[in-house]
Symmetry: C2
Subunit: 338 residues, 2 copies
Amino acid sequence: MQKVTINVVAEQAGVSKKTVSRVINEEPNVSEATKKKVLAVFDRLGYRPSAQARGLATNQSFLIGLMYDNPNKSYVSEIQTGALSICTQKGYHLIIHPADHLTEDLIDSLENFLTSSRLDGLVLTPPFSDRVDLIEMLERRQVPFVRIGPTLKHPTSPSVISNDLEASYDMTRYLISLGHTKIGFIKGHPDHNASKQRLSGYLQALKENGINFDPQYLQQGYFTFSSGEDCARKLLALPCRPTAIFATNDYMAAGVLKVASQQKISVPHDLSVVGFDNAPISSYIWPSITTVKQPIQTMASSALTILIDTIRKRPLENNELQFKDELIIRDSSAPLRG
Amino acid sequence: MQKVTINVVAEQAGVSKKTVSRVINEEPNVSEATKKKVLAVFDRLGYRPSAQARGLATNQSFLIGLMYDNPNKSYVSEIQTGALSICTQKGYHLIIHPADHLTEDLIDSLENFLTSSRLDGLVLTPPFSDRVDLIEMLERRQVPFVRIGPTLKHPTSPSVISNDLEASYDMTRYLISLGHTKIGFIKGHPDHNASKQRLSGYLQALKENGINFDPQYLQQGYFTFSSGEDCARKLLALPCRPTAIFATNDYMAAGVLKVASQQKISVPHDLSVVGFDNAPISSYIWPSITTVKQPIQTMASSALTILIDTIRKRPLENNELQFKDELIIRDSSAPLRG
DNA sequence: ATTAACATTGACACCGGTGTCATCGTGTGG
DNA sequence: CCACACGATGACACCGGTGTCAATGTTAAT
């Protein structure tokens, strides 16, 4: 079985390579007759142009890289799904590139990756979205990229963000509306800038509702289940213990739930617990966790649309797209008793 | 900034393209002196050969595809991690390709994918691992592939498997050793052949221990949380209700836990619940779930080693590698009371 | 009828590597 | 001292496409 190349097609159709190329790329100035003739040969032979050869000639690879360093598997998975939907639609392939954001030679190894694979573009997710050194390298090398969920503004690079501050503000207000005033807060990993925003939203809501902020109620978590447990133990051991705990992701909220259960504190009866991210665990656990759902998949799709437009040098209307988070109220939160 | 190609390097080093190529590929018959000279130019200019051009010339792409259709995000993620570790080590990139195994034109769209991206190889995960039509197509097109976790034997294609039957057998025996004889069983999705094996292991253990199999205790699940809930309700409504429930994945086990909690049945005091897969939720939920851990990451790594050997036409010692599962005993199982 | 403008097509070089084969210099055995 | 094998190197075609530009044919305007 001979390989079906552009030459074979050209010969079979009785036209030149170049004309076949024109048909492939839907260029103008091909007569209807020849076009039809060529297309007929296409599906008679099952011809598919080689992305490689095409890339070599046009200096493209039709490959897009996705960079992440996130233990949250469902987050990564949603990003992948959203990204892929656009990629396949536009004829690109997605190469995944997990990396350790703490490693020394991050930049070097990324440069290797870029040059050897000749990526057309790169998608950055937190915490890479805010890495200035990385961004500068990409600009120097003129690799198109898009950032998902950065907190840092950057004039020239496009990004897609959600409003963590607002969502956190809304969640806090929701707890206040249930009558809670003693609200424990578990911060996220300090390397993720979103953590700061989530804290700000909480503080802002307290302030606007005239609730005194008590630093005792603030605990440093690390987005992990066990850090949630640790923080919960500290919070629940306070002399005047909180009636609600806002953990800034669902794994930590699950940790809180576990500790509450161990200490025979009934959720949501005696304690409201809320999370963030709408991870699968939030709906699978009992009681199910009130949380914030970010439209991650949609964000990833938009990011890729933007990136591909950039690659194709289409002007962008908007350098920064913002999406709104959504409060999902489940069983772990309830009005304050008494 | 000019692009660094093989021509530039050749010129700078004062040798021919071909000699540079020889150095790149570590071919013999290059004198030490010239080799050193060329290598010096390499890192002075930061030269990286273009995978594209190389591929075009050698009919390779250095791309490996990973195909899956699995709602279990942590499974997919582990597979990806394991696969990538070998890929990067051997200079390949991983292209992820989720697909719907129920779609009509699966084969067609996969053929498109294969020809347009010129993959060097493909990794199949369940349920694709057992799709005969797919396997035949790949053999016809002579695309090297490896199957992870197939149940179907296939003479020529290499595969990496775990022993689900044995693990399920061990788990059932473990429950029996705790004194349980009324053991409910929640089957997995019928499209996944592993489901059958897990069932066989259960049946075998019952038989070998002289326990009568009661078909009432058998329920059809679908690997989802809600199917676990449904099955649990049925099992717990039985007049002579089981003292232990073996759900064949952790999501379903979590569903059982939820129903038990709703019905005020204390786990593990009044009911032992065990799962399968060691999904994150199994350790985050309360009580944490006794489960079976498959060495998924290791399996994926081995699969890729095998695949790359196949691609490079190295003979394989073994067409089928088997890995052992591991029982992880946590808080959701306990000896039978009374 | 003549010419300019435009649509259609193909020849050919090029993208950045590798494969084949020829060439040249050197060491070895007879 | 010569024939020969072998190591080191380069010239050149080729992989499968695209870009450039020139050569046609066709149509419209003068």
